[in-house]
């Protein structure tokens, strides 16, 4: 099995440690991983702003980089959801469809394809888990509080394999952090207020770290934590699962 590693643009540029952890974790689990070096971005920043019609260049490039792999894995629910729902190419519709079908967010790849049952990781800290909306409500990585349906959590089941970790409870288990792509600047006041409230919930329950499957939400919350002078840190879930 050969996996194409897709690293979202802002992770590549700002959070290389999250990307390294993803690569190392997959390698540790015996996966042959290749990172196509000509990759850029999934195109979501344009599409969510109403400019999906400008994403054909990104789509073409994405297909070119990733169409040949058995699976495509990315440490992001949001970018994966965008590819799944919106990648299209009139010139090669079958390839676009195949990309959409074989792309996985990291934790669901670990639970559903690799069916990981144990991880050699230790993280003796109090950790708050942020449910990023696109991963949760879009990719169904975990059950949503609105539905009358049985509980499950793919990221949660993996974190439970980590030795010494203490997952803290939250008042609002799956409320949005307010990042929302360009929403974070276009609707600055609400975005920041949402972020402050989300962070406060984690702080109130004694989190030392906030983790999640999407670095974008974590970047937003980190921005608020740092501005508040908090010592609480954010970590991508790959970093915890990889034993940092």
């Amino acid at each position: 099995m050969t996996v194409g590693l897709f690293i979202p643009c802002y992770v590549d540029q700002f959070y290389p440690e999250a990307a390294k952890a993803t690569l190392q974790l997959l390698e540790k689990l015996g996966v042959n991983v290749i990172y196509p070096q000509n990759q850029t971005c999934c195109g979501q920043p344009m599409a969510n702003s109403g400019f999906e019609h400008l994403t054909s260049g990104c789509n073409e490039l994405f297909i070119k980089n990733f169409a040949e792999f058995d699976y495509i894995v990315a440490p992001s629910g949001s970018c994966v959801l965008h590819i799944k729902d919106h990648i299209h190419d009139d010139k090669q519709p079958l390839k676009a469809e195949s990309v959409s079908n074989k792309i996985y967010e990291l934790t669901s790849f670990l639970t559903d394809i690799l069916q990981v049952k144990s991880l050699p990781a230790r993280f003796p800290h109090k950790v708050g888990v942020h449910q990023s909306c696109h991963g949760q409500r879009g990719l169904h990585l975990s059950q949503m509080s609105e539905l009358v349906a049985p509980h499950f959590s793919k990221p949660g089941s993996l974190l439970n394999m980590v030795e010494g970790i203490e997952i803290i409870p939250l008042n609002r288990i799956d409320e949005c952090c307010g990042f929302g792509g360009t929403f974070c600047v276009a609707e600055e006041a609400v975005s920041v207020k949402m972020g402050k409230d989300r962070v406060a919930d984690h702080l109130q329950h004694g989190a030392e770290y906030i983790t999640g499957v999407d670095m974008s939400c974590l970047m937003h919350m980190e921005g608020i934590l740092n501005r508040q002078g908090s010592k609480v840190k954010v970590l991508h879930i790959a970093q915890i699962l990889n034993g940092i």
Binding site: V11, K20, F51, G57, A149, T182, V190
Partner: protein, 456 residues
């Protein structure tokens, strides 16, 4: 209220100046969402019920032409007069002409979001008709000369002290009273006099049954019934989408409506009007006002399935922190944001962007409207139709160009983490809204791509 020229972001910014108030507003609405959760989790078949309601509404929209006529025929056979109105003007003129016919200059009205959408009160006031809203929340915002900020909880943005001040001014109670029990009792006494003296009552319609020609009005206060059963003339205004095929379908919708709205198992009163009472005149006005246009928009027609429960507002993290008035439309929140652009795409171009697309709205919707997907689709339509600001257009074009070319992307990265240069949230500049309340991460020495090249 001079909200017309400000967009959602600007109005939300003003709302957020008072953070303690935002917290109060957020917590109040979250509490209702929590009550909803508690209530729906007692119904194991809840998701099947939603799915059934959604399918019934799909059937309604696909047979609306037949159902509307069936409803009309049966309502007429029951002795109800049926009117049709293409738009607000026609609806309001019909109401006015009915009032004139019965020589009425004072009317009592129970909650009808449709008449808010059609600006009936303003129209009638201009024509010398005094309208009193009888729903307590609506009466309060009417006294405050504001529109409702929520379709189910019209004055959810008002504090009890402010309501006390309004009642002091208009109902003559002593200054400084804010006890909800006392204030409600005061309104009860005042409005009882109104119910007893008005010869005409207007109500909304929650459901209109094609099979029987009856319509159902749901309230907790009993104000629709007090108005209608004491008046000589009952006018009921309904949008064309309020039709349901059969009486038995009420079982599905009444189970969903109030549990979704407030967590109650049912409203106190679910009143089924099928014939006028002895000596009374009953009129129904069936209104289009853009609904048939929305019906023709394949991607957006599902919005017409809405049963106006307000659950999407209560759960919306943006609505809770920006307030209903920031949507500058009769119907606020996520559902308002997908209905409003149909009415005026330019005026409401901002609303589909007032969302993080978190998707909670679609999950609580009792008729499973894909609200957040429609918000995404409206964004595309609005941009295509040319209602996006030029600056945004230019930055998006620049971004698209960079991201479509690995060379440009890597060059920009080397030049100091490209995101800093072109991503709208990362521009390191005091004018950038990101930095008002947030820091950006420090750019690392090398990107993952650069590291990978050296290490693998």
């Amino acid at each position: 209220m001079n909200n017309e020229q400000k967009d959602h972001a600007a109005l939300a910014d003003i709302f957020n100046k008072d953070e303690a108030r935002v917290d109060w507003h957020d917590e109040t609405l979250w509490w209702i969402r929590a009550k909803r959760d508690k209530s729906v989790h007692q119904i194991p078949e809840w998701e099947a019920l939603r799915e059934t309601a959604s399918q019934i509404k799909n059937n309604v929209l696909s047979n609306l032409h037949t159902y509307l006529q069936q409803f009309e025929t049966n309502a007429q056979a029951n002795g109800i007069t049926v009117h049709w109105a293409s738009d607000a003007k026609e609806h309001n003129e019909i109401v006015h002409s009915l009032l004139k016919m019965h020589d009425v200059t004072r009317m009592v009205k129970s909650k009808s979001m449709l008449t808010e959408e059609l600006h009936l009160n303003e129209y009638l006031a201009d024509h010398g008709v005094d309208v009193i809203d009888s729903d307590l929340g609506e009466r309060i915002v009417q006294l405050a000369k504001e529109p409702p900020s929520h379709i189910v909880l019209p004055c959810i943005h008002k504090k009890k002290e402010e309501i006390g001040a309004l009642f002091h001014q208009y109902m003559g109670i002593a200054e400084g009273i804010s006890d909800p029990q006392f204030l409600t009792e005061t309104a009860r006494q005042h409005l009882r006099e109104t119910f007893l003296t008005r010869k005409a009552a207007l109500t909304g319609v929650n459901f209109a049954v094609a099979e029987t020609g009856e319509f159902v009005v749901c309230t907790n206060e009993g104000n629709a019934d007090m108005g209608a059963h004491l008046a000589d003339v009952h006018i009921a205004s309904m949008g064309i989408e309020k039709i349901i095929p059969k009486r038995e379908h009420l079982g599905v919708f009444l189970r969903l409506l109030t549990r979704s709205a407030t967590g109650q198992p049912i409203t106190t009163y679910s009143s089924h009007f099928s014939k006028p009472r002895n000596g009374e005149k009953m009129h129904i006005i069936i209104v289009d006002n853009g609904r048939t246009v929305q019906l023709g928009r394949e991607e957006f027609r599902n919005s017409l399935k809405c049963i106006r429960c307000g659950a999407c507002m209560n759960t919306c993290p943006v609505y809770r922190r920006s307030g209903g008035h920031s949507y500058h439309n009769a119907i606020s929140g996520p559902i308002g944001a997908i209905l409003a652009p149909n009415l005026d795409m330019e005026k409401y171009a901002d609303l589909p962007f007032a969302s993080t697309l978190c998707g909670s709205c679609s999950n609580v919707c009792p008729v499973k409207i894909d609200i957040h997907d429609q918000l995404y689709k409206w964004r595309q339509v609005i941009v295509q139709k040319g209602y996006a600001p030029t600056a945004k257009k230019l930055s998006m074009q620049a971004m698209a160009k960079t991201l479509a070319s690995p060379t440009a992307y890597h060059l920009a990265g080397k030049a100091g983490r490209w995101v800093m240069k072109i991503a709208p949230f990362a521009l390191n500049n005091k004018l950038n809204p990101w930095y008002k309340n947030r820091d950006m991460p420090k750019p690392p020495d090398e990107s993952f791509g650069e590291w990978y090249k050296k290490n693998r």
